[in-house]
């Protein structure tokens, strides 16, 4: 039985229809990535699943409990790191963690050890006794994520967890997600970074126009846009992509047709190509082939 499931989820703000029949199913112990352009409704989906916002229609369940009818049971099974910082700026890092550990029902005598471990894990030991309001964006983000792991949840929601992190911190978060999954936690993440979804997720869903327009394993999604892609840079700086059928003939013919290109590479399709193809929002997208 899926641990997160939505069926025909609907949500409008005023007459702006944000979710228009979203179906999602996440298997226990896997990483699910929800991708979508800005304003697609990713955060709205997370808010509905984490009992913050009520859906207008359809149904959603987490850990076997309906989010609207049994919010208390849902909250007991989840942990959420929202898109925007949710730490107490007037408290220090250590105070934030201690407070959240108590509210997360960590047994009283374990709190000290759990907090120290979290500080070490997220590289916050030196800043532990500074007010979190003075942290850099990346540090605050790490504190945010450290808070979500205080009590091992069954489902962890991460809404754009690595936005604003430097490459090293981002690697740290990825490692941490893999570790958690190793311990059986299900991770539901949203991201703008296709690389992130590609590396972490067992399954990727693309949200666009209020619906899931693609939902598959990363490799299968990449196959959707076809085989090798010829990427050409032109003298005026313009970059264009030309899908091929993968045969040497087709690749040769494509490249030979690009007489004024200054630089040509042949590469595998990336998730960016999937994203751009399926959401149709690419300024640089060229689907047709050049005439030979």
């Amino acid at each position: 039985m899926p641990v997160v499931e939505t069926s025909n989820l609907q949500k409008s703000f005023g007459d702006h229809r944000v979710l228009d029949g979203v179906d999602i199913s996440v298997a226990e112990g896997t990483v699910f990535a929800l991708l979508g352009p800005n304003g697609a409704g990713k955060t709205t989906v997370v808010n509905i699943l984490s009992t913050l916002v009520r859906a207008d229609g359809g149904s959603a369940s987490v850990a076997g409990h309906d989010v609207a009818r049994e919010p208390v049971a849902v909250r007991a099974a989840i942990s959420v790191t929202g898109q925007f910082s949710a730490v107490d700026a007037l408290l220090t890092g250590r105070e934030n963690l201690t407070m959240m550990a108590r509210l997360s029902r960590v047994p009283r005598h374990e709190i000290g050890a759990v907090v120290e471990k979290a500080l070490a894990r997220f590289d916050l030991v030196d800043a532990a006794d500074r007010r979190s309001g003075s942290y850099s964006g990346g540090m605050a983000r790490r504190l945010d994520i450290a808070i979500s792991m205080l009590a091992m949840p069954r489902v962890l929601f991460l809404d754009e967890p690595t936005t604003g992190l430097d490459p090293r911190s981002r690697q740290g978060v990825w490692e941490f997600v893999r570790e958690l999954v190793g311990e059986g936690v299900t991770v539901f993440l949203t991201t703008q970074y296709l690389e992130e979804a590609d590396r972490l997720a067992d399954r990727i869903a693309l949200l666009d126009g209020g619906r899931i327009v693609a939902d598959d394993a990363p490799a299968a999604l990449k196959r959707l846009v076809g085989s090798d892609i010829v990427e050409a840079t032109f003298a005026d700086g313009r970059v264009a992509c030309y899908p091929t059928d993968g045969s040497l003939d087709d690749i040769k013919r494509t490249i030979l047709g690009l007489e004024d290109a200054t630089h040509v590479t042949v590469r595998n399709p990336s998730l960016d190509d999937v994203f751009l193809t399926l959401t149709g929002k690419s300024p640089k997208q060229v689907t047709g082939k050049v005439a030979a």
Binding site: S50, T51, L52, V53, V72, R75, A76, I78, S79, V80, G82, F84, S85, A86, V87, D88, A89, L90, L91, E95, M99, R102, L103, S104, R105, R131, I147
Partner: protein, 253 residues
């Protein structure tokens, strides 16, 4: 969930108390403003309102206490509105935290902060010549009434803070509470007010509150005003408490 009601409330009270000591505005308003008000009342208006400044100190201290308690409590509205804009409140909502705990934290911190203010006002009052005739019981009753007022007004402010859109809007509740004591017997006898204002001044909660506290501190009989004051405060407390809890459950960012 209810097994954790105490944990949640005490965690939130600790949080709000820390906020209070780390927030310059709340310290300034809690400590300096009351003292300035008292000195302003007695030195500037003192001579004009009654014959000698010393008599007026005695007359006005109960009113200044009410003014500080009411205005100080109104700061709760701003802290609640500010808090509601923070991501952390949404995070609390995704956890099984007792729904009223965040508000309880703000209210209890407000009571603690304002009791300190009240203490400072009393100390300053003594320094400039105020002398209470009350015995320990009178003091206890007077302080008890002030605590009740702070509790009631803090809950009312918390409810207002949940409705207000911005902290600036929320602060307008303070003007209301700053204004009310002037329309009571706190600073001038009611019979010196314009005729149309007298029924309003008599009917509002600050008049029985002021009569009771002045009577208790000066050792004069207070008649029914004590019960009227308690009834007003309990009424405000119950209505605001329920309203705030209902609003909290409904309010979503």
């Amino acid at each position: 969930m209810s097994a954790y009601a105490l944990t949640d409330s005490s965690v939130m009270i600790g949080r709000s108390l820390r906020h209070t000591t780390r927030n310059f505005d709340s310290l300034f308003i809690g400590i300096f403003l009351p003292v300035m008000l008292l000195l302003l009342m007695t030195t500037v208006f003192g001579g004009a309102v009654s014959g000698t400044a010393g008599d007026y100190v005695t007359y006005v201290v109960p009113g200044v206490l009410l003014l500080c308690a009411g205005y100080g409590a109104s700061m709760t509205a701003m802290s609640v509105t500010t808090d509601m804009k923070e991501g952390i409140v949404d995070r609390f909502r995704t956890m099984n935290v007792l729904p009223s705990a965040v508000l309880t934290g703000h209210v209890v911190a407000s009571v603690a902060r304002n009791l300190v203010s009240v203490g400072i006002v009393i100390a300053t009052a003594y320094a400039i010549g105020f002398r209470a005739a009350a015995g320990p019981l009178g003091w206890l009753a007077a302080i008890g009434l002030i605590v009740l007022l702070i509790f009631a007004m803090s809950w009312a402010s918390a409810a207002f803070g949940l409705v207000a859109k911005t902290p600036e809007g929320a602060s307008s509740f303070g003007f209301f509470l700053l204004f009310l004591p002037y329309l009571s017997s706190a600073f001038v006898p009611i019979d010196t007010l314009p005729g149309w204002l007298q029924p309003i001044a008599t009917a509002q909660p600050f008049t029985p509150l002021n009569e009771s506290i002045r009577g208790l501190l000066l050792g004069n009989p207070i008649g029914n005003s004590g019960w009227a004051a308690v009834a007003w405060c309990l009424g405000i407390l119950v209505v605001s408490g329920f309203t705030a809890s209902a609003l909290w459950r409904r309010t979503r960012r």
